[in-house]
């Protein structure tokens, strides 16, 4: 039983960190539907670096760095070139999916390093994730930087007039956003399941994207959602930890995706948004052009 909870917390860490990255980007008005692609890059590059150097630290730094680079690339397409953010995000995802399948293939297999120590089965990254959530909330809602960041996501023209550099602020947030996604990938490949396999994420990034919509762009609701989905995901992987003699494991694998669709549909109803309001950043997905 405890094993199940511990593993669920570890799974939730990956959702938490990746979705927090997406939330930061979206708060500044930039949506990246390619979370999964950025995570695949972070995971694959982090894995290769850690495996070849034998250093976890270098692995994680590489994961974060490649995440930042992917974030910057998305920023270049979405902010500088001003293209459709959905198209750009799809590009990031398919680039990540395709290129990591090729780059990582020679490294297929286990990492072969001693596992990162855990506290009663719970990875230290779970605690790091909670700290990151709290820090992100504080920065977003209690500091001047956060105010600027949110203002470019709500109404960039007004923000620009009041002296905020919209382009710089948006770049800063998409790069930070990418770093979180890269880190989430690194946590997956170096700690949660240190075995490289082609396209191993199989939906983590897309569920993380949906979690941001569920969170109503609030880091603490995101934390709750991540823990719930972490448990659900873990249950779908190891239903035998809770139930004996259950239906096929393949049927279990579909459960988190079915629940995601259901929750997303519920949240997009009029009934829901009229009760809990829409916290969606006003300028989300819209390119900004200075006149």
């Amino acid at each position: 039983m405890w094993e199940f909870y511990a593993r669920s917390f570890n799974a939730s860490t990956i959702f938490m960190v990746a979705a927090l990255g997406e939330l930061i980007g979206q708060r500044a008005g930039v949506m990246n539907v390619g979370v999964e692609g950025a995570m695949l890059f972070g995971a694959t590059i982090g894995f290769i670096v850690a495996k070849t150097t034998g250093s976890y630290l270098l692995g994680f730094l590489a994961a974060i760095a490649v995440g930042a680079a992917i974030g910057a690339l998305h920023g270049f397409f979405s902010i500088t070139l001003g293209g459709d953010q959905v198209v750009n995000g799809m590009g990031i995802w398919i680039l990540g999916f395709g290129l990591t399948a090729y780059i990582g293939y020679p490294y297929t297999g286990p990492l072969g390093l001693e596992r990162i120590p855990s506290v009663a089965g719970i990875s230290p990254f779970f605690f790091l994730g909670i700290v990151l959530i709290a820090v992100a909330w504080f920065v977003l809602f209690k500091t001047n930087v956060g105010l600027k960041l949110r203002s470019v996501g709500e109404n960039p023209s007004v923000a620009e007039v009041s002296g905020v550099n919209v382009v710089r602020t948006r770049y800063l947030s998409v790069i930070t956003s990418g770093m979180f996604m890269g880190l989430a990938g690194g946590i997956y490949a170096l700690d949660y399941n240190p075995v490289w396999n082609y396209n191993f994420l199989m939906g983590w990034g897309f569920v993380a994207l949906a979690l941001v919509f569920f969170s109503m762009w609030n880091p603490f609701i995101l934390l709750g959602g991540s823990v719930l989905f972490g448990a659900l995901w873990q249950l779908s992987l190891n239903p035998e930890l809770l139930f004996e003699d259950t239906v096929s494991r393949y049927i279990w694998r579909t459960v988190p995706f079915v629940v995601t669709i259901g929750a997303l549909a519920l949240m997009s109803t009029q009934w829901f948004s009229s009760r809990w309001g829409a916290a969606k950043p006003e300028a989300l997905g819209m390119p900004y052009e200075k006149d």
Partner: protein, 370 residues
């Protein structure tokens, strides 16, 4: 921006002609192929030789060409499945899941009517083939209807829902064909049952009849968008949902329609590859590879700017490149996944080249600064 004695200026384009679009797309593809050339170099293979091997296997080799055509037809159906919703401004990235649903629909019919393995079905082969195609279309439509309804009624993000359905269908296929699932083959090797002889559709010059179906559909869809009222409504909704609603076009109707149609088309892709391609006639163990291939449908759809006729050469090109890519991997001992790398690079270059659809670059001699 200044570059030496020249001044570079960007000017917004108001529109572009079909020829401009074609030129930009061709340059983008060539540039992507150039970049993939570095992957060949890194693997110690001369890129010119690599491409020569790819193209000659894909388009000139008597063994390679039919494989290219089979892939191209699959891609073409997937491109249509992407194009119909994108004309309405909606993203269908669920071609993989819809193709799996199509395959399951077709094989469910086959199983129910006794067309499994060495059995002798009670119906004549032609009728069964027809029913299997119907099953494939219904399977794809059922799965396509879900994002359609959710988008139309609640404005639920269709990218997330279609992607979620890809994963759901992926695992559902695994359930059906593996570990004692209802569609498991007699070999017990985790793959689906083989179709009996009489429901294997006839070939015309080594190619399945689905090739002609896909070409006919390209023309049909082209006419649909160019000439019919419903095609006009879809395009109107795509350019401005608010204006379209004002003009009395129902968003629920349009989203449901385009996604059901998309599902149907992707369902045919599933039928084509698993039930009509010679040598297969079953849902294989590596069915996931075909789901991955389906994402090239996004690329064909985007490059063709939603034009079904323009997708034909693109599907042929990418069918050939992926097929030839797989071949040279073995022949030139490249790493696995050159076709995946190509997918990623083409996509991101395409995204970068979107810029040229919106801006014109003007180069003129800089004026003397005062």
């Amino acid at each position: 921006m200044k570059l030496g004695r020249y001044q570079i200026k960007l000017e917004k384009k108001s529109g572009f002609t079909g020829w401009q679009a074609a030129v930009i797309s061709i340059v983008a593809i060539l540039f992507a192929l150039f970049l993939v050339g570095f992957i060949f170099l890194q693997a110690g293979v001369d890129p010119a030789l690599g491409y020569q091997e790819i193209f000659s296997y894909a388009f000139l080799n008597p063994f390679g060409l039919p494989l290219t055509l089979n892939r191209a037809v699959f891609l073409l159906f997937c491109s249509f499945a992407f194009i119909v919703p994108i004309r309405a401004g909606l993203w269908n990235i669920g071609m993989a899941g819809q193709a799996y649903a199509g395959a399951l629909g077709a094989f469910a019919v086959a199983l129910a009517l006794g067309a499994k393995g060495s059995q002798t079905p009670s119906l004549p082969g032609g009728a069964l083939v027809g029913l299997m195609i119907l099953g494939a279309m219904l399977g794809g439509m059922a799965v396509g209807a879900i994002p359609g309804i959710l988008k139309g009624k609640f404005n639920t993000n269709e990218i997330v829902t279609t992607m979620m359905i890809n994963f759901i269908m992926f695992w559902l296929v695994a359930y059906m064909i593996k570990e004692g699932g209802p569609f498991m083959g007699s070999g017990g090797e985790g793959e689906g049952f083989k179709l009996t002889e009489s429901v294997r559709p006839p070939l015309f010059k080594d190619t399945p009849f689905t090739l002609w179906v896909s070409l006919a559909l390209a023309a049909l869809l082209y006419i649909l968008f160019a000439r019919t009222k419903i095609g006009y409504q879809i395009r109107a909704f795509g350019s401005s949902p608010a204006a379209a609603r004002y003009a009395g076009i129902s968003p629920v109707k349009i989203s449901l329609l385009v996604f059901v149609a998309g599902g149907l088309l992707a369902g045919l892709a599933g039928y084509h590859y698993f039930a009509a391609v010679p040598g297969l006639y079953k849902i294989p163990k590596n069915y996931g590879d075909f789901g991955d291939l389906a994402f090239y449908g996004i690329i064909c759809g985007l490059i063709s700017q939603g034009n079904p006729l323009a997708s034909i050469p693109l599907a042929l090109l990418f069918g050939g490149l992926t097929n030839g890519g797989r071949f040279v991997q073995g022949k030139l001992q490249l790493g696995f996944g050159i076709d995946y790398a190509l997918l990623g690079v083409v996509m991101i270059i395409l995204v970068a080249f979107q810029f040229f659809f919106r801006y014109r670059i003007i180069l003129k001699k800089a004026e003397k600064e005062n």
